[in-house]
Symmetry: C2
Subunit: 570 residues, 2 copies
Amino acid sequence: MKRMQLLLLVGIMVFIPALAFASGSSHAETQTALVIQVGIVLFAVKLGGILAQRLKIPTVLGELSAGIVIGPFALGGLALPGFPHGLFGSLAPAMDIPVSPELYGIATIASIILLFVSGLETDLRLFIKYSLAGGLVGLGGVILAFAGGDLFGVLVLGGGFMDPRNLFFGIMSTATSVGITARILSDRKKMDSPEGVTILAAAVFDDVLGIVVLAVVLGIASATSLGGSAGIAWSRVGVIAARAFGIWLGATVIGLVLSKRIAGFLKSFKHASAFSILALGLALVVSGFFEKEGLAMIIGAYVMGLSLSKTDISHIIIEKIHVLYEFFVPIFFAVMGMLVDVRQFASPVVLLGGLAFTALGIVTKLVGCGVPALFAGFNARGALRIGAGMIPRGEVALIIAGIGVSGGILDPGSFGMAIMMTLLTTLIAPFGLTAALRVPGSGTRKPTSGGDSRTIDFDFPSDDVAILVTDTMTHQLQSEGFFVRTMDIENGIALVRKDEISFSMRLEGIRLTAQATDENLPILQAAVFDAVATLNQSFGKLKDDFDPSSIRHEVSHETAPLDKAEAKAI
Amino acid sequence: MKRMQLLLLVGIMVFIPALAFASGSSHAETQTALVIQVGIVLFAVKLGGILAQRLKIPTVLGELSAGIVIGPFALGGLALPGFPHGLFGSLAPAMDIPVSPELYGIATIASIILLFVSGLETDLRLFIKYSLAGGLVGLGGVILAFAGGDLFGVLVLGGGFMDPRNLFFGIMSTATSVGITARILSDRKKMDSPEGVTILAAAVFDDVLGIVVLAVVLGIASATSLGGSAGIAWSRVGVIAARAFGIWLGATVIGLVLSKRIAGFLKSFKHASAFSILALGLALVVSGFFEKEGLAMIIGAYVMGLSLSKTDISHIIIEKIHVLYEFFVPIFFAVMGMLVDVRQFASPVVLLGGLAFTALGIVTKLVGCGVPALFAGFNARGALRIGAGMIPRGEVALIIAGIGVSGGILDPGSFGMAIMMTLLTTLIAPFGLTAALRVPGSGTRKPTSGGDSRTIDFDFPSDDVAILVTDTMTHQLQSEGFFVRTMDIENGIALVRKDEISFSMRLEGIRLTAQATDENLPILQAAVFDAVATLNQSFGKLKDDFDPSSIRHEVSHETAPLDKAEAKAI
């Protein structure tokens, strides 16, 4: 069946377009191309994702590679009946970017969804509470990676440190994508180890700092590209950087101050899916506003998400827009893959440059995150694990590379190097991290009490039941003062933490896999049990209320509202 | 709070864009405009929908009107700082359509989602089983409405009956949108009356016939527009019509024959949301293929939906892509509103023409559906109710008008008349139907046993619980041989039927409202009770399984899979 499934997928992708022939006006053609492209992309990314899973490499690599393979520089550029320029070939060859603006538009919306969710998941209280180790590790990694990327640009492309192209190499190196690390930690049962917890906290810092750096750099880049490619007065750079930082800070503060009011406004639309979509609408408008102010859209999306992150609707929004995420985000990765001009890799400069950029990206995070970890109670083993966990780059690097190439700042060769770095760091990091985790022994100077975590699987009768139990459990844990942070939305991995207690959850279809050390295992089991018991009680109550023999007398020609008291039961 | 909510909405829509100023390359500008536009549209349609609800008119009118108001010919055309052509003004004035191709692309995907879901909801067994009355009513309405629309075109625009413009007026008149009728029947507790049930069955015929007529007409239209506007040999028209019909029939038969295999293929992707998105991907590809074959995309989307409608995953797909529906579809209605050039209504031809087209649209459905009803056991009162219920046009008329205007077949004046007809029939039908329902007395010749239906509300603790119970109930009813047909996806209205038993359900947030006559009330109550009891039992079993005190011994360093037997319990 598995083989059959892959064959069918390939069959659909190859034959359906081959059957078609051209027709219609240019408008209809554009729209038809968009529809077919989106359909094909949805299948291609799924195929890429499945292949990646089978090769035991991160899904995102499969999705990105699927984009490269079906893109305009590979299969998508081959002429087919009805598609003289290929399925993904450009209709207007003069365009700056090699995919249609309509398809790119979907990818743009996807990038906003990505960063909006990333902001929603950022737990600022966690940021403040576990700030020392995480802050040091995050800050070290961001500073060194930025400096390394910028230096790489200076050495390879020439120009000064303030050259927009070089600054772009700096920010592309900066943002760690912690999703893959979370998946490996979860696989190796290390989510709640001191290393795992520190990586989590560092990732929050990394996100926040990365956005600040991006804001500042974009301000500088737009100023220097306006004022000529060479030089610009340092005082002017300072003003521009301050302005960009000021807009970011102002928006974040306003967002946080107004967060309750915004949440209240959104909640006044009652239905959860309605207000979740409006929250996304707000993120879209704010993103556009940031872009108009010379910052990037994703900064606006992140700020909007961050503003709502500490409200009680943040988890509801994440849950409700999950299907939008699943629809849009793989299209984003595929489109980024499509932008890769594979011919560029024939050039030794691009190929060797990409390898060098990758090496630099690995070393700067290993050192930038590992050394501060040594000062935060970890030994060399632990520092290596933390450093390795912070290596993978992901969506943010891709979005910034996309901004660079579509804005004309990065040439196709530079874009190729950036994609290589993203692909390779994401590919290498899991092996490095796994190897570092395999080395036996504690990663902290003072040996910690817990050993390996244990895993329990809870199988539920259906997806819906599994989601309901997990949501109920999340709400109950939060009301008891636990932090619940989603680490990897695609795989439903979350870390739960309160003081010394921590455990992790991973929801896949009907199965909830939970991990905890021996001490925390009873707390975890009790949490699942409580959620199920609450639901059982709630349904028991409903059953009594809805018993036909007892409610017969209540029925009238009007309505017979039943007990609404239990509406607050969960 | 309500007033506050509206004020804030207006505030957001007015001030945020006013704060922004222009920047960036043309690519970045296009993408920024798209993001801001989508964000604003999401709020505008919500505002329009709320206003419509408050005015007690159908939501879709509010959404369409919101599009007109914020569109390029009204507020959206006013210059703002950063938007010299207005927020929705065209960047390239030479385009055939007044909205950007990127935004139109979102609307195109929305139209495919609409028709895909419509196909998924079409219950072919119901079509076959209750065919006499429904078939007569549906067929009569389609034939007369098509003839009326075509004749209107001939009289107003000139040209022959085979002129593409006139054929377009024919198909725009054809498709009834039964959602609004379902809502009114539900409000008036008449969903399971003989009239309600007949309208439901007729709507299935109307959908299927409407798609067939559309396929044939598009074939003819493309042939005649290629061969000159005036004449074409009738024999050639016959061949073309036969080819279009053949493609539709072939695709439908292939789809139905392969339905189990397609469903099996989709299910092999395991996660419900993953395969639901891939099902939509398949619909997108098939839609593009239909367009390339000279038919409309929506025909492909409908055929794909129809193919999957009788599989066990149709309800899962509808449920999972519901958030995509909620995100995309209102954008579709708004974009259709934006295409309306309000200045056209200054022309008496358009204004009076639109009124005449509306009147014809009303009369043809009243007579075309009402007269056959007289031959199917209804008296004049019942025939009037059925005719009135079949009047509203909706998304299909709009999509076809959109195809006409973007393909250059319809001029802005004709498009204006089509929008007027859609707006007014949707606006008038509810009043007519409500008035016809208010007239006391049975609508059938032989008085039926049941009187008015009774209503029971079931309030659940949360949205998620309400959805879970409704889904469980739906599955249980289907396994007992009931037909469960979703009538109005936005308002979650479904009609349940098996032989002489029928009742309706409406899920709004945490409340499930059910309607049935006295005889059927116990069946309905038992169905809800059974679903809740099943869930209660299921959670009770889970609670026992997950009891920490009993599972302690099962925990190991590996996994301790719990009883999977209950995975099939629901």
